[in-house]
């Protein structure tokens, strides 16, 4: 059994989901790659921002 940290779990989730989104939602390899990177940044970025928001609300 593995116990990843929350951030590791977010990064792994974002990596796999972005790969599938990139391949399935765009037509050319270049656009697939760019869309995959875009989705990855949005996944991880939004998780970090929401984490800080919840941290500040909880204080």
């Amino acid at each position: 059994m593995i116990h990843p940290s929350q951030f590791t779990a977010v990064v792994l989730f974002a990596l796999f989901a972005s790969t599938v989104f990139g391949i399935t939602q765009r037509e050319t390899p270049r656009r697939m790659f760019r869309y995959g990177v875009y989705c990855f940044a949005l996944f991880v970025g939004s998780a970090v921002v929401l984490s800080w928001v919840m941290f500040l609300i909880a204080r």
């Binding site: 059994m1 796999f16 989901a17």
Partner: protein, 143 residues
């Protein structure tokens, strides 16, 4: 002026999408892609795309199991039903895991909850990948 030219290019691109002229069963990539992640793209000779999809979906499913995620075996309430439908998207991975008794029966730690979500999302991503293979097969998505 530039806008109308762009629209014309888009229309031309749409018209150039290959019609469904290939012989064989149209739904084969869809069914194969559902049963085994990436198989639909392999059938269409999209080797790199198929390998990436396969690695992503199987990797996500395996990580979910490694985190002791739960595999839904039935539906007691609406949320369970949604989870069960998501798990079904994994195709053979789901059925083989059920047969082998993999996955946890109860979610007891936080990482197991992550694992459960990984397994459900792997199934949903697999459905997206299978539909993409079907769109490539029918010509709805240009190759």
């Amino acid at each position: 002026m530039r806008y109308s030219q762009k629209r014309m290019a888009t229309a031309a691109t749409k018209n150039s999408a290959a019609p469904n002229t290939k012989p064989g069963f149209v739904y084969l990539p869809l069914i194969a892609g559902w049963l085994f992640p990436g198989a639909g793209h392999f059938l269409l000779r999209k080797w790199v795309r198929g390998a990436l999809l396969s690695a992503s979906i199987i990797g996500m499913f395996a990580l979910g199991l490694a985190m002791k995620g739960k595999i839904y075996t039935g539906a007691q309430d609406v949320l369970d039903m949604l989870g069960f439908v998501g798990d079904l998207g994994n195709g053979l991975l789901f059925f083989v895991s059920r047969l082998l008794g993999l996955g946890a029966d109860q979610v007891q730690v936080t990482t197991a909850d992550y694992g459960t979500k990984f397994i459900v999302v792997a199934g949903l991503l697999n459905v997206i990948a299978a539909v993409d293979a079907h769109n490539l097969r029918t010509g709805r998505k240009p190759e």
